[in-house]
Amino acid sequence: MAIQALQVVAQSATTMTPPASAAKTVHVAKLIDISSCIGCKACQVACMEWNETRPVIGDTDGTYDNPVELGANAWTVMKFNEIENAKGGIDWLIRKDGCMHCEDPGCLKACPSPGAIVKLDNGIVDFNSDKCIGCGYCVAGCPFDVPRISQTTNKATKCTLCSDRVSVGNEPACVKACPTQALTFGPKDDRIKYANERIKDLNGRGYDKASLYNPQGVGGTHVMYVLPHGDKPTAYNGLPADPKISSTVGLWKGIMKPIALLTMAATVFAGVIHYAIKGPDTVDDDHDDSKKS
């Protein structure tokens, strides 16, 4: 990958279009080929190393999930699920959970602080901690339940897709560490082509429902999966089948904003107009005896 200028094409709580949205940088993507993943968690370790995150050592919940879920200091977590397959055997499904870097990010839509969440022209969705106010609206906006608010700093955190590494032409730390090439990174078009090859291969090996997970409900994502059981994404630790920005968030952060402000302004103006035309309601028949005393 060539070095990419990290230009912002969309930012939270902003009514103007940033100038860089005219840019035409190559869209990047991380492809997670679940059929090649051995669950070694090298990606988790690399993520912690590169980003200097150290989750508190917790308790085991009896699974391989460790930590049990995403956290302010755990931006990617391997989730292990067992499902019974048609032959009566067990399929062990391992999914690397983390930010999907949506083309239409729900977190960015929900965020009230200008520029606290940005989308770069290469597709990466990034959080700016200095502008984050810690309200947690991004948590409500995200269809994948990814952002976490730090207990220590009260700032929202998540995977950055190693935007700092990508900006100087490197792949994300997790991709660098993956020993089986289950994780690959590059231009999104190339990743889709590679995914299709993998799917053809899986089809030939009995996984006839294998498919690419690049959900269009959020405009596609810059983190994609090759799912061997493409017909049941939810089997992979509840990966949503058709993720969309929730309609309540859509109302709250969409049509309601202009309508609320306009009606408030209109009500004030209605008062001004009424007062100007009708005049104040005065007590003109003031024959109040007590006042004269």
Binding site: S113, V249, W252, T263, H274, V283, D288, S290
Partner: protein, 208 residues
């Protein structure tokens, strides 16, 4: 209830409570609007920045609610809507055109004031309950993300309705002369009471 100056409408404690609520409402509204619409985000500057707005807003709102609860228990029985009030509300055109002679007799409060009271009660309950669901970092973790989403929408809609109601409440006080004085000094003139609240006037003076 009457003295030499006129008629006592509000005691000192009621007026203090009212103005404290008013100040807290303005602060909650400014902070809330700042986090509601990007064009209003500059208002966070009044509170020491975005994070401080986020921190203070729920405390301001909660304080307003607690004070409003006191007002509620003191005044709810004055605000029970009657058939007369419904008739008054249906003749809102006559109200706005100052056709007082066509309106049914108004008691301590008119239909509009009573309706506003109940809208305030309802929206403030909704605001507190919904606000709790996404109050970080203290309470939000007791609620699922789905609940948080609905709560945020309910909070915004309730706040919107409450703000519109308060705009109407403030305008009515500005429009009907002698009303703001009732809340500053607690006293209204006999003429004011006779004109705007004849039922209440008879009640406190015995019709004199």
């Amino acid at each position: 209830m009457s003295n030499q100056e006129g008629l006592v409408r509000y005691k000192g404690s009621d007026r203090l409570n009212h103005w404290l609520i008013a100040i807290l409402f303005v602060l909650a509204t400014l902070g809330g609007l700042a986090m509601f619409h990007p064009s209003m985000f500059f208002l966070t500057g009044l509170f020491g920045g975005g994070s401080w707005t986020r921190i203070l807003h729920p405390f301001i709102g909660s304080a307003m609610f607690v004070l409003f609860v006191l007002i509620f228990f003191k005044f709810w029985h004055h605000n029970v809507l009657t058939a007369n009030d419904r008739k008054w509300l249906s003749q809102i055109g006559d109200v706005l055109n100052k056709n007082h002679d066509r309106l049914p007799e108004v008691g301590r409060y008119n239909g509009g004031q009573k309706a506003a009271f109940w809208v305030m009660v309802l929206t403030m309950i909704l605001l507190v309950v919904s606000g709790l669901a996404f109050w970080r970092p203290y309470f939000s973790h007791y609620f699922s993300v789905d609940v948080t989403r609905v709560a945020a929408l309910v909070h915004a809609v309730s706040a919107w309705v409450l703000i519109l109601t308060i705009i109407a409440h403030v305008y009515a006080a500005l429009w009907v002369k002698g009303t703001i004085g009732a809340m500053w000094t607690g006293v209204v003139s006999r003429a004011w009471a006779r004109k705007h609240h004849p039922g209440w006037f008879k009640e406190v003076t015995g019709g004199k």
